[in-house]
Symmetry: C2
Subunit: 227 residues, 2 copies
């Protein structure tokens, strides 16, 4: 259970993410942040030594959110295609639940100090490789079809992460409805109706042929297994 | 043909977008920009009165790039599904060709003055509605299948725009290869192999059953049309 210090730290980060998202990191000041939190600046400095340290903590917390998500998904015994569904769902839920964190994460990278930017880049690359590993396991299992696994990873994460730009908390869709829609699109594509319209037609034609044969033969339907 | 003034303005915007992308808009200074351009600050001020005016021009130019693209796509006589392919391709090409502009556009919105932010929001909403119109025309024509047209629009623009975050100019994929991959995924989905692998197999099995029955019966294949 987190102690009081960790709780206050978390409150500060949430308020800071909201402020940075609304005003931009560089434009926002620690005076504004302290005022929002009804906290003296001296108290605020007791938790974070600088605005940059707060930005770094926002980046670390956001990366951890994704890393913990993918670890839980990998630990389970779900098939690769189910794991990919869960990755999409985890991203959409994270973006919806922590929109300010994600907006800062996606917008303020240029303001990270160089050593931290390199560290975050490495963690992101490791994360992408883990998702790529699931896609490749899915290809081997024959449940994921793609000739460009890396492009598939970026496409899936892109459509899921992009939710941070258009999600409306007062809208009709919650995170799971959005995730369901994205999963359906990613799995079947938007041109699926045309294809699945043809297959029943061809099946119906074959069934008619078989019925005609039965009539000609005056027999019952033959068994499916042959020697 | 653009005059010299327009050419210099365009050079300034390109250099500014590169600088803002690398350093962040707020951190970048007009001194740095003038130095990069080998131009005096006085000359620079002859083209743009402030850093904010440069940011505004970057946003306008980026919006115009997308608006001109969609106008050209709408003007043609392509079917709605082909129009959607062209929208995806236009986004990927724009992101790859103008990565700095797009990065600033996607990251620095919080730094726009309020009246300009509202103006850009309205133009973006109009753009999204135009793409939505194509999707809805595609549904009516039976070539686009989706129960959530708006979600489909955001998913397609999201996977295409996200390229700005991972595109590597030294990588093996050019814009058109990326667009081809995204179009294939968006149209058919990554689970297509399972379906398309199974369906032909099942259809072929049925055909074999029918042929075997014909052989047993000693008859020709019955005609397809019956009263």
């Amino acid at each position: 259970m987190p102690g009081r210090r960790a709780l206050v730290q978390s409150q500060i980060l949430t308020a800071a993410a909201d402020l940075f998202r609304a005003r931009g990191y560089r434009a926002a000041t620690l005076d504004e942040l302290a005022k929002t939190l009804r906290m003296s600046k001296a108290t605020l400095y007791g938790y974070f030594r600088s605005k940059e340290e707060i930005l770094a903590a926002i980046f670390h917390r956001t990366m951890s959110l994704f890393e913990e998500g993918i670890s839980a998904i990998r630990r389970g015994s779900a098939t690769p295609d189910e794991q990919i569904r869960r990755v999409i769902r985890h991203h959409v839920r994270a973006v919806v639940a922590e929109r300010s964190f994600l907006t800062v994460f996606f917008s303020e990278e240029a303001n990270l100090p160089a050593h931290l930017a390199r560290h975050i880049t490495a963690r992101k690359a490791r994360y992408d490789r883990t998702v790529l590993g699931i896609v490749q396991a899915g290809r081997r299992a024959g449940v994921i079809a793609t000739s460009h696994p890396r492009l598939l990873v970026f496409a899936l994460l892109g459509m899921s992460n992009w939710v941070y730009r258009w999600y409306n908390p007062r809208g009709v869709w919650d995170a799971d409805a959005i995730a369901d829609g994205l999963i359906a699109l990613a799995e079947r594509g938007y041109a699926s109706a045309r294809r699945s319209d043809l297959t029943p037609t061809r099946l119906a034609r074959l069934s008619r042929d078989i019925r005609a044969l039965h009539t000609l033969l005056g027999s019952k339907r033959p068994g499916r297994r042959r020697p």
